[in-house]
């Protein structure tokens, strides 16, 4: 699909052929026309002359490529550039000397830079802009996988080898390096001239922020950044045009009728609700229908929790077969990539922001591509228009009574399990979850990069007026600390806690702490330190192979050395402490809170109990390099 759009924007394709091509990808005619309409200002506006130049929002600027790049970002409303510098991109930073509207946020490793921008984008809804060194691109790409899979808007730019030197195998040149990014970007491009930099930048921003969003990669050759040209700069309003698509009215009415008449409806919810800021609309729809809501309790495959997890209609994880409420006769999937579960006797309605994964894994009976906020509002209005308020209330009450009883029963059960596991040393995940729920403010942004934390999450409240959850779908580790910083940048006035496993910390390294210290970011970092890739080991052993049979954990034990993360933080000027006893948690959280008030980061290295198969083992395949020597050198 992106190739189709590229051809259109390059004027190699007519509007009619674009529409028919999009239809072939499964978009409805209405949706395809809406996409074509939204692409029109960019695809048809460049160089078309009078109308553009007459606008005050479009002006001609002269300068080197760096200045043109910066001026286009500024005109688009970009407020931060996340960066790590290289020599070739100096014209960009030279230009920024005189552009105080854009703040520079420095990271000291490319992965951290991308994760900071990613966290900022998730929390703000705006496009994160990244500049890193050409040769550091592979570092950046590890975290771009999270960005790509979760469809977060990001513009990643590098200053690349001078065009005259391309192909000479320069010491930091890799042929066609932009191709490396192809599988994890919506679009990649190399600016062909200084004149083209502003236009290329606009396209990049537009593609990144057009739903379904995603990362875009721009290669800016050093000569194009250094040379001068005169070109147009457009305000963001001229190309960041509305992209919010309403669903087809007839389809909405059909869905509304099915949901009213359903005997056992179920709502499946996903991250597109979060991205579309449709949580309030979702809550209204669920309560209107009295239908149970299933979503993501675990964090693999999902990055947010868009429905209040303690709401009586929330029944937890969407499973392939639901023992409660039983097989639905109508399953309404709202923005959930994994929520299309087809079964005989179930009518599957799916409303998705992303047409490419709609009906991708399962046959869908009624499919709509739409902005979730608009679609849910339309659906709610249609339902209200088809039945009296009292009839709807009766239907909802009949459905909800059973769900309320179930969710209350399960909540009580989970609490009891949590309490039963609360008194252990090392500290259990469950005890930590209980303590966090007690000590964190309700409006906390909870940034999680720890798969082992799954048993904590159900003991805490997320969504609605409770804590907002940020994670990543693919769980590429090393994201959490830097992303927590980015979330704080977007939401400076709410508490931010970044919860990472020791595995995640070791992947990212301590580099995000450098940015937290430099920019005085009041973020509480919690390292859940169980000296293991705990869930990884369990999953491997769950295959019942040789490691399980012989009780030999060949891969996952991370202890020896037992890294002291608080000491690591200290090296970066970040105060921290190690916590080994559950009884110490309350005082620890109080000290972290005091640090937040003072406007500085704080790190807690909390020793956590390993769980599951092989948990007690500290063995790993021994090997001593020192013993291999024949000379003691």
């Amino acid at each position: 699909m992106k190739e189709l759009i590229k051809q259109y924007l390059d004027r190699g394709l007519s509007r009619r052929r674009l529409v028919s091509g999009l239809s072939a990808f499964g978009l409805s005619t209405v949706a395809a026309k809406a996409v074509a309409q939204n692409l029109a200002p960019l695809g048809q506006g460049i160089g078309s002359g009078n109308a553009a130049t007459a606008s005050t929002a479009i002006r001609t600027i002269e300068g080197n490529g760096g200045k043109l790049f910066v001026e286009q970002l500024k005109a688009a409303g970009v407020e931060y550039i996340f960066f790590n510098p290289s020599t070739g991109d100096h014209p960009i930073f030279d230009a920024l000397v005189d552009v105080p509207e854009i703040k520079l946020i420095k990271g000291v490793q490319e992965g951290a830079v991308v994760a900071m921008a990613d966290g900022y984008a998730r929390a703000s809804g705006r496009t994160g802009v990244v500049i890193v060194a050409n040769i550091g691109l592979p570092n950046a790409m590890t975290q771009m996988v999270n960005t790509w899979k979760d469809q977060i808007p990001l513009l990643v730019a590098v200053a690349s080898v001078d065009q005259d030197a391309l192909g000479r195998d320069q010491w930091q040149e890799t042929d066609h390096h932009e191709l490396m990014t192809e599988p994890i970007t919506k679009w990649f491009w190399q600016a062909q001239s200084t004149e083209a930099i502003a236009e290329t930048t606009r396209r990049g921003l537009k593609f990144a922020s057009t739903p379904p969003c995603g990362p875009v990669f721009l290669s800016l050759p050093t000569n194009t950044l250094a040379q001068h040209a005169k070109t147009q700069i457009w305000d963001g309003s001229k190309f960041n045009v509305p992209m919010r698509i309403r669903p087809d009215k007839a389809d909405v009415e059909k869905a509304a009728r099915l949901l009213i008449e359903a005997k056992n409806p179920l709502l499946s919810i996903g991250d597109e609700i979060t991205w579309c800021r449709a949580d309030k609309e979702l809550l209204e729809l669920a309560e209107l229908l009295g239908a149970p809501v299933a979503g993501e309790m675990s964090n693999l495959g999902y990055w947010s929790k868009p429905f209040p997890t303690r709401h009586p209609l929330f029944i937890g994880t969407l499973l392939r077969t639901m023992r409660f409420p039983g097989k639905p006769d109508v399953l309404l999937n709202l923005g959930n990539r994994w929520g299309e579960i087809a079964a005989p006797g179930t009518t599957l309605i799916s409303i998705r922001l992303d047409p490419t994964s709609l009906a991708r894994q399962a046959p869908v009976d009624l499919a709509m591509v739409a902005d979730l906020k608009l679609a849910i509002a339309d659906l709610t209005a249609a339902i209200r228009s088809m039945a009296t308020a009292s009839r709807l209330a009766d239907i909802a009450e009949q459905r909800a009574a059973r769900t309320r009883a179930y969710s209350a029963q399960m909540a009580e059960l989970r609490e009891a399990i949590g309490r039963g596991l609360a008194d252990s040393t090392p500290i259990s995940m469950e005890r930590l979850g209980i303590e966090l729920e007690k000590h964190l403010d309700r409006d906390t942004c909870y940034v999680a990069d720890v798969d082992s934390g799954k048993t904590m999450d159900p003991l805490m409240a997320f969504g609605g007026d409770d804590k907002q959850y940020f994670g990543t779908g693919p769980n590429v580790l090393g994201w959490g600390m830097a992303a927590g910083f980015g979330v704080k940048l977007a939401r400076p006035d709410v508490p931010v806690v970044s919860v990472v496993g020791d595995g995640s910390f070791l992947f990212s390294g301590p580099q995000p702490l450098w940015s937290m210290a430099r920019y005085k970011a009041p973020v509480t970092v919690i390292v859940l330190n169980n000296h293991s890739y705990n869930n990884e080991r369990n999953r491997i052993w769950n295959g019942a192979g040789r490691q399980f049979e012989a009780a030999r954990d060949m891969t996952c034990y991370n202890g020896n050395p037992d890294v002291d993360f608080a000491k690591t933080a200290d090296a970066f000027g970040v105060e921290g402490e190690t916590v080994k006893e559950a009884a110490a948690l309350a005082d620890t959280f109080a000290r972290a809170r005091a640090a937040m008030v003072e406007g500085r980061p704080y790190l807690l290295d909390i020793h956590i109990k390993r769980e599951g198969l092989g948990a007690v083992s500290q063995w790993y395949p021994p090997y001593s390099l020192a013993q291999q020597r024949t000379r003691k050198v």
Binding site: T142, L413, D451, K454, N542, A551, E611
Partner: protein, 172 residues
């Protein structure tokens, strides 16, 4: 770069993604022994994961309860009475000494505790696990205590004999 894939012991896969859904090959034939509670285990547990590993584990009731509680926190749809049914089934059919799979004979060094290990430890697992590697000396008491907590039929005195033997013969 390695992405941390989920997983606690048996469930860990509480999302309907390709990465966490049991493969068709894994699902295969029913590996669980018949008995009261079988159908509940088969239905509730297979919502998320492969059943084969369950059949290879032997644990006492406390150990099985820990697994099942963990699954419920991860999203398994089991009510409190159903948890009791599931734990009772698992402890009865896959408890210490029950339906043990065949194991390769392993020769243990002589010494106090040898017979105890051969008799009790094998109620839940093979001896290859015991002799496969040397572990830190301080690790053995922790491992034995964990087994006892999970339901190994061993008295406090016997546990000491066992970890003394293991420390002496398989400690590093």
């Amino acid at each position: 770069m390695r992405a941390l894939v989920l997983a606690h012991a048996l469930a860990f896969a509480l999302a309907s993604t390709a990465a966490v859904t049991p493969s068709r090959a894994q699902q295969g034939a029913d590996p669980l022994p018949a008995g009261d509670g079988h159908d509940l285990v088969a239905v509730a547990c297979s919502q998320c994961h492969y059943l084969g590993t369950i059949a290879k584990i032997r644990d006492g009731a406390p150990g099985w309860r820990r697994y099942v509680d963990n699954m419920v926190l991860r999203g398994a749809q089991l009510t409190k009475p159903e948890i009791e049914t599931v734990v009772a089934y698992l402890a009865r059919n896959l408890g210490p000494g029950m339906n043990l799979p065949p194991a390769k004979p392993v020769a243990l060094p002589d010494g106090p505790g040898k017979d105890l290990i051969a008799e009790r430890c094998t109620l839940c697992h093979n001896l290859e696990r015991v002799v496969a590697v040397k572990r830190e000396r301080k690790a053995w008491p922790v491992i034995v205590a964990d087994m006892v907590a999970q339901g190994a039929p061993v008295t406090t005195e016997e546990a000491k004999t066992i970890f003394d033997y293991l420390t002496a013969n398989f400690g590093d």
